[in-house]
């Protein structure tokens, strides 16, 4: 009997024969789909390893005749964004500077919040929680301008602090949902026993809940790292020109109108920008899937 919990594990017997008409059909459809999914990655890598003359002559799918890493060096060190020519590395370090505090703050706030909402409910807490989840569906465009005014009045518009605050705010719905659902699923006896022993709000959280919730923290970190790294809109508005994250710089490099387009440099810069979330994805597999599934799980 299979459990009723969502599971991504295959069940039942091992497949018997690999070569039957049905399985040939299944595997060929999956293979074609897989090729379609891999083509952009393949094209990106191939293009970034070619010199410009070869790109002009050849076709985008052919592997490079002469492999060169020059485009990667140029993309990292000296690609031009239209304002200056310091390469995508500026954006990389800006993204790191935005990413680390945003991930830490949003997770601390949401985990404590989720814990309060699961074990320490108070009058109105469920109402606010529902409102928070609904807020996640409001298009960001609706709240952008008032937030510009608020951050400007607080003196943090166009600064790292500003964009970090914005990421913390908009990360709250999904993270709170994630943590609340996790804490609700823990056996309530644990909490009750700790209460009987006289432990308070923070002590139960730090000494009992935290050590038990490593997996959910991993899911939250993955969710936030990929989400914040891939952000464009908040970075372009709230971070300020000096602190533009990597995605904004990448777009400025590739879509800048002046100069001859260096497709190989552009693709190298694109891969470099995609590398961080891709590495997180490849090394975290199951946790990543849990993170995206969390968005689909109702509270």
């Amino acid at each position: 009997m299979s459990s009723s919990l969502p599971s991504f594990e295959p069940r039942g017997r091992r497949p018997k024969r690999l070569v039957s008409p049905t399985s040939i059909m299944i595997y060929s459809v999956l293979l074609v789909a897989a090729i379609y999914y891999l083509i952009p990655l393949y094209v990106m890598v191939m293009t970034s390893l070619k010199g410009m003359p070869e790109i002009r002559l050849g076709n985008i799918f052919s592997p490079p005749v002469e492999v060169t890493f020059q485009p990667w060096a140029t993309a990292w060190n000296s690609a031009c964004t239209g304002l200056y020519c310091e390469g995508i590395k500026v954006g990389f370090f800006n993204s790191i500077k935005i990413l680390i505090p945003s991930v830490i703050f949003s997770i601390i706030i949401a985990s404590v919040n989720g814990y309060a909402l699961s074990n320490w409910r108070f009058k109105g807490s469920e109402l606010f929680f529902t409102a928070l989840i609904f807020g996640a569906f409001i298009p960001y465009q609706v709240m952008l301008y008032p937030l510009v005014i608020i951050t400007r009045n607080l003196g943090i518009f166009g600064t790292l602090t500003g964009v970090i605050v914005i990421h913390t705010i908009f990360g709250m719905p999904i993270l709170t949902l994630l943590f609340r659902n996790y804490f609700v699923s823990l056996p309530p006896e644990l909490f009750k026993a700790a209460r009987v022993d006289g432990a308070g709000f923070w002590r139960i959280f730090l000494q009992i809940m935290l050590p038990m919730s490593l997996p959910i923290f991993v899911v939250a970190v993955i969710l936030q790292v990929t989400g914040i790294w891939n952000d464009f809109l908040f970075g372009v508005i709230f971070a300020g020109t000096k602190n533009f994250p990597m995605t904004v710089q990448l777009n400025n490099i590739v879509n800048s109108t002046q100069g001859v387009k260096e497709y190989n440099v552009n693709m190298a810069a694109t891969i470099l920008t995609g590398a961080v979330p891709l590495l997180v994805y490849f090394f975290s597999g199951k946790y990543f899937v849990r993170g995206i599934a969390a968005g689909a799980v109702k509270g």
């Binding site: 299979s2 991504f8 790109i55 409001i138 709240m143 952008l144």
Partner: protein, 301 residues
């Protein structure tokens, strides 16, 4: 949910209330406050700075007379309907194939889902390169001998929105597949056994038994896709930047441009209010359906 609910005095649960302050502030100030501010100021004549000079529905009248806005709405509709249909159908088919106890399931899943880890900017730029007429798909097919092959999805304004659909599907179908696969794994094996005993072919079992049973999964997926579709912005900025001309403009970009680069604030606010209304039209029926547990249980039986 078993949670200890004891009659705490208001101040005894103070820690929890302090912990919830960020959430309460976010809800009241950002989600409620900022949204109301936007709706109110969309009825004013604000240009580069917000003013409270009310002009009724003028901004909305002007909005719907602007061709760029109507093109944006039309594009959003095309993008929305095509993305929704194809990602649901393809996502479900892929999930159903993955559910056939196949080998290399993990490898296939990793491949189908990796675009979801990428930024829309990255996706947009890669597809811009693949679809470039001078070097991309069009040239490759012509080099194969089909001299007259045309694939002008980036250069002919009539087709640019389809380029965005192609890139969006590449990024989004994997997520639908993962959600659908989780849903399929939730269907009891007994159902399949019973259908097989009754001699019902697999496609009929899917169509008439499994899919109706997965209704909640479909609805949740639908809501998630719709919410992302309405917000589509980065992908367009990276792939076409709205062009050529205004052929691939979308509402979110209209809002951004009018607010931040054209200094026509109230137009942007009115446009964003329309976006909000669109989301509400999708969200409210879903919420009414979803958050009445008795109703839902009654309906699914």
């Amino acid at each position: 949910m078993s949670v200890s609910r004891r009659p705490f005095a208001p101040l005894r649960n103070l820690n929890a209330k302090v912990a919830a302050v960020p959430m309460i502030v976010t809800v009241l100030v950002v989600f409620v406050g900022c949204t109301l501010w936007t709706v109110v100021y969309s009825f004013t004549s604000s240009r580069s700075l917000p003013t409270l000079d009310f002009v009724g529905v003028d901004q909305y009248v002007r909005l719907f007379r602007t061709s760029r806005w109507t093109v944006s709405l039309k594009n959003l509709a095309i993008f929305g309907i095509l993305s929704l249909t194809f990602s649901l159908v393809l996502g479900f088919i892929l999930a159903a194939l993955m559910d056939q106890k196949i080998r290399f399931e993990n490898t296939f899943r990793t491949i189908f889902l990796y675009p979801h880890a990428l930024s829309f900017i990255v996706t947009g730029l890669v597809w811009q390169w693949i679809l470039t007429p001078t070097y991309g798909v069009q040239k490759v097919v012509r080099d194969l001998g089909f001299e007259t092959f045309n694939f002008p999805v980036l250069t002919d304004g009539r087709y640019t929105i389809y380029a965005i659909v192609i890139a969006g599907l590449w990024q989004g179908t994997g997520l639908v597949m993962a959600l659908m696969l989780a849903g399929l794994r939730n269907i009891d094996d007994e159902i399949w056994k019973a259908a097989r005993v009754d001699g019902i072919p697999a496609w009929r079992t899917y169509l008439f038994i499994v899919i109706p049973m997965m209704r909640p999964v479909f609805i949740t997926t639908l809501v998630i896709i719709c919410a992302t579709i309405v917000k589509v912005y980065d992908l367009v900025v990276a792939l076409t930047n709205g062009g050529p001309g205004i052929s691939s403009e979308v509402p979110a970009k209209y809002v951004y441009d009018f607010m931040f680069s054209r200094g026509n604030l109230a137009q942007g606010l009115a446009a964003s209010t329309i976006m909000l209304t669109t989301v509400l039209i999708i969200l409210v029926p879903w919420a009414l359906l979803e958050f009445r547990p008795e109703n839902r249980r009654g309906a699914s039986k």
